[in-house]
């Protein structure tokens, strides 16, 4: 096993100092933070959490203070604050660095247990959320595709859990099991890896089918490596940096085995993990060069179609009023927000209706919506109201995790607006051609 040789902010809390010091406490982030808007407490927003980081470094408070741990985990890592920050503070690094420090001090099982205790809403479990909880890093180990139902998992809302638990068996066959590893295009213009991410692999398989269909229609040979894993983001946000590193290495090794020139994603979080996080977490390790190489090759599907290949616009009519939700990681990390709108406007029959704040977070934040139900639901409902106000038939987004949260929010306010992925609307249009 290779280990990191340099001290990154994930390995050494002292390394956070140079990042913390950049915050001038201007408060601009308060207007942008979805959690602050609900809770109105300084500790909810980047500025307050940065002050906590400073207090840890100056020994005013201990990293294992119970309240501090709760506050540091009360963050969606949505990066909205970073868009508003005049100092360019990289808050994502700060929050993940602090979480890694907590995990190091208390151990990963403690963190997972602590978070799991917060899962206070049994209702969510009845709604098939078990699978989702599993994907959010509660049970994840980089064991690849080994499946086992964890003991105790179904017993109730506060099962005893530790690192032993790995992916539970799900009722459905996974997407990667089901799909052919290589699907050749007739007159192939390029070969791309499809990085499915967990949500497509286990929940929104139709998004995966649609992606492959769209790539086929554009003469792209698709490789969906069986040996790819979770992108690592879910464990990384819990501070489990070593598991994230291991997942990253395995994914890179899987990419290396192909002859693909590109990686295509349909999830903002996966895309930004591959593009922005891998080179950082693998800095100073054997895999650093591979991480950098593949980071250059990662594209969200919308960018890939419009900017990388020769795109054949779909011609089939899809008579729908659609509103578009900007996934945080897609817009704020991958900087992709024009391309999906451009694609939607190219589909005959679609009218794009912009909602009030299309890039306001939906409240998902990986496991956040499971661990901080009250705040997350308020954020999700506010989002749903904005969607409702457009009177659109469907809300479309570029991230399956958002799809789930949008669905939940809309359901809670009694709205029946459809939730879909950009790639599914494209596929619908291609399919409607004949």
């Amino acid at each position: 096993m290779t280990t990191a040789v340099t001290k990154t902010i994930f390995d050494d809390i002292e390394a956070l100092k140079k990042e913390l010091i950049r915050c001038m406490k201007c408060g601009n982030c308060m207007a942008a933070c979805p959690i602050y808007n609900v809770e109105k407490k300084e500790s909810s927003v980047a500025r307050g959490k940065i002050a906590l980081g400073e207090a840890v470094l100056s020994n005013d408070i201990k990293i294992d203070d119970d309240t501090l741990i709760n506050l540091i985990f009360n963050c969606l890592v949505c990066k909205s604050c970073m868009m508003a920050c005049p100092s360019g503070v990289r808050f994502d690094r700060i929050i993940l660095g602090l979480r890694a420090a907590i995990a190091k001090k208390k151990g990963i099982p403690f963190v997972k247990k602590a978070l799991f205790k917060l899962l206070k809403n049994p209702e969510l479990f009845d709604k098939g959320m078990k699978a989702f909880a599993a994907m959010q890093g509660f049970f994840l180990k980089p064991e690849g595709e080994k499946k086992r139902t964890p003991k105790g998992f179904l017993k109730g809302i506060n099962p005893r859990l530790d690192e032993q638990f790995i992916l539970p068996e799900l009722t459905r066959e996974s997407f990667r099991d089901k799909v052919k590893e290589t699907i050749e295009a007739k007159s192939s213009q390029a070969t791309a890896i499809f990085f499915t991410g967990c949500s497509v692999n286990y929940l929104y398989q139709e998004v995966g089918d649609d992606l492959i269909y769209v790539l086929q229609r554009n003469n792209i040979t698709t490789i969906t490596p069986k040996r790819q894993n979770c992108c690592g983001m879910p464990v990384m946000v819990h501070g489990d940096i070593e598991t994230a590193r291991e997942l990253a290495r395995k994914n890179l090794d899987a990419f290396e085995k192909t002859n693909a020139k590109y990686i295509v994603t349909v999830c903002g979080s996966c895309g930004s993990a591959l593009k922005h996080e891998y080179p950082i977490i693998l800095e100073g390790t054997e895999h650093e060069e591979k991480a950098k190489k593949w980071a250059e090759r990662v594209y969200d599907i919308s960018t890939f179609l419009l900017k990388v290949i020769k795109f054949e616009p779909p011609k089939g009519k899809v008579p729908l009023k659609v509103t578009y939700h900007d996934s945080c990681h897609l817009k704020k990390s991958m900087k992709v927000f024009n391309e999906p709108r451009q694609l939607l406007k190219m589909i005959p029959g679609i009218t794009l209706l912009e909602m009030k704040k299309p890039d306001a977070c939906c409240g998902s934040g990986g496991s956040y919506h499971l661990t901080h139900v009250d705040t997350a639901l308020k954020i999700a409902k506010a989002k749903a109201e904005d969607i409702k106000a457009t009177a659109a038939d469907a809300v479309c987004t570029g991230c399956p995790a958002c799809m789930m949260e949008l669905f939940e929010g809309l359901h809670r306010i009694g709205e029946s607006c459809n939730v879909t992925h950009t790639v599914s609307l494209l596929a619908k249009s291609y399919r409607a051609e004949n």
Binding site: C26, A31, E42
Partner: protein
């Protein structure tokens, strides 16, 4: 002081969900946006929702001699809301209702925690605006900006916060609730308490409701940006515009250091070899008069050897404004920290002030970018610093002392809009003299005999 009994009483006044006591929560209330000032972690933070709760807290604080620190959004640049002891922080973040918008009397009545930008968004449907627009308006509260008498980017034509406050409800440090002013345009009853409480920095009373004056939103506007090879030409343009009876809504300046830093950071297409730029925006209700004012500005820019770009579309306007908006962010990138001052001089002394700042920067070997509200003579010399570098910090403190000295010698003031707080307390006597200090103390003692309200701010109680 604060003990379990005090906290229990707070919980019964505000409800347990509106009281913070854990150390980790309290740490997040020990700062505002001012760097390098003394600060303390408060003993408790409370979130009132109504006036009565605040009154009860005052009684409790008086009995126990506990200091109270009112806090809006904590964006203050002089240390106003920062606790100096383990007292109580009152956060107004949950007391944030717009009570009434009265378009016929042109007023809005608000609770102190309303965010300035939210107030503007709500009155926009009536075609009205609340003009004070500090750069922090997306987060700063009406209460905080009233307590600081905040300015903004359109102060030259529209004035500052004090020109838009018509009355208030205040809980006095002795516990009485006192309402003064109202919706009438005219009101000369009693002392002018409104103007006493605007800018009182939380030291005289706790503001619980505010009646704001609104005005019709200007229908037309024209923005332009002008570049000058000589500071003197930029300065003369500013005074010539006013002398020619044009009062732009916005008349902003950026010096060479700022221009170069902005261009380097934001690549907005600014020439980097000029000494200064002016961002000018004229506005009004009639298209003809706005165009006339814009033409007049162009004429004056030409006479003073300036080159200009004028915005024909909204997109072009945005791109001109982008340069100004990028000023602080760009400067903030250069070094870990910034010290942002707001020394202000009469408009005619603008160039003297800019030249003095440049020589201070040279003398102390510091990078100082200056931008600000040229039309108001209100400059923001921004000193870029690495707080871990002790020697550099020392030079920054000396440079700031000297900037204030020059501002006062030019007939200016210590603070145009950020307030005195704790940051500028030691300079206060230099501007208002001994008699000023004594008068301030007598007013403070008359209002707040127990000195429980924001003690240590604005009024130096001891020599």
């Amino acid at each position: 002081m604060i003990n379990k009994d005090f906290i229990d009483k707070c919980k019964s006044i505000f409800g347990p969900e509106n009281v913070l006591t854990d150390k980790a929560e309290l740490i997040a209330y020990s700062y505002d946006a001012t760097p390098g000032i003394p600060r303390e972690i408060p003993g408790v933070v409370v979130f009132p929702e109504n006036t009565k709760q605040i009154q009860e807290l005052i009684f409790l604080a008086r009995q126990t001699k506990t200091p109270i620190y009112p806090r809006g959004a904590g964006t203050c640049l002089s240390g106003g809301p920062v606790p100096l002891s383990k007292g109580v922080v009152i956060s107004f973040q949950k007391m944030n209702k717009i009570v009434e918008i009265d378009p016929d009397n042109l007023t809005a009545t608000v609770q102190p925690g309303v965010i300035i930008a939210d107030l503007n968004a709500s009155v926009a449907k009536y075609g009205l605006i609340y003009p004070p627009d500090p750069g922090s308006m997306a987060t700063a509260t009406v209460g905080g900006s009233v307590a600081e008498n905040s300015g903004g980017l359109r102060g030259l034509k529209y004035g500052v916060t004090k020109h838009y406050i018509m009355g208030m409800e205040v809980v006095m440090p002795t516990g009485e609730v006192f309402r003064f002013g109202g919706k009438t345009v005219k009101n000369v009853t009693a002392y002018d308490f409104t103007h006493l409480f605007v800018g009182s920095e939380g030291t005289l009373g706790i503001i619980t409701e505010i009646i704001c004056k609104l005005i019709p939103a200007p229908k037309y506007r024209k923005a332009m940006i002008a570049f000058f090879d000589k500071l003197e030409d930029a300065g003369k343009t500013v005074t010539d515009i006013v002398r020619n009876q044009v009062i732009p809504a916005t008349l902003e300046i950026m010096d060479k250091v700022t221009i170069q830093t902005v261009e380097n950071y934001a690549k907005v297409g600014l020439p980097t070899n000029v000494e200064a730029l002016l961002l000018i925006e004229v506005d009004g209700m009639g298209q003809d008069s706005v165009l006339w004012e814009a033409e007049k500005c162009v004429e004056i820019i030409n006479q003073n050897n300036g080159k200009y770009r004028i915005a024909e579309t909204d997109a072009e306007r945005d791109s001109l404004w982008a340069a100004r908006r990028a000023a602080l962010p760009a400067l903030a990138q250069v070094k870990p920290s910034t010290v942002l001052e707001d020394a202000t001089v009469p408009r005619t002394k603008l160039v003297d002030m800019l030249v003095a700042i440049q020589s201070i920067a040279k003398k102390y070997d510091l990078m100082i970018g200056t931008f600000g509200h040229a039309g108001d003579g209100n400059l923001h010399p921004t000193l870029l610093v690495d707080p871990t570098n002790k020697d550099e910090m020392e030079r920054v403190h000396n440079a700031v002392d000297e900037i204030f000295e020059v501002a006062l010698s030019l007939g200016g003031t210590l603070s145009g809009e950020h307030g005195i707080g704790v940051a500028k307390l030691k300079y206060l006597q230099n501007e208002i003299g001994r008699s000023g200090i004594e008068t301030m103390r007598r007013i403070k003692q008359a209002f707040d005999p127990d000195n429980i309200l924001n003690p240590g701010k604005l009024v130096p109680m001891e020599d």
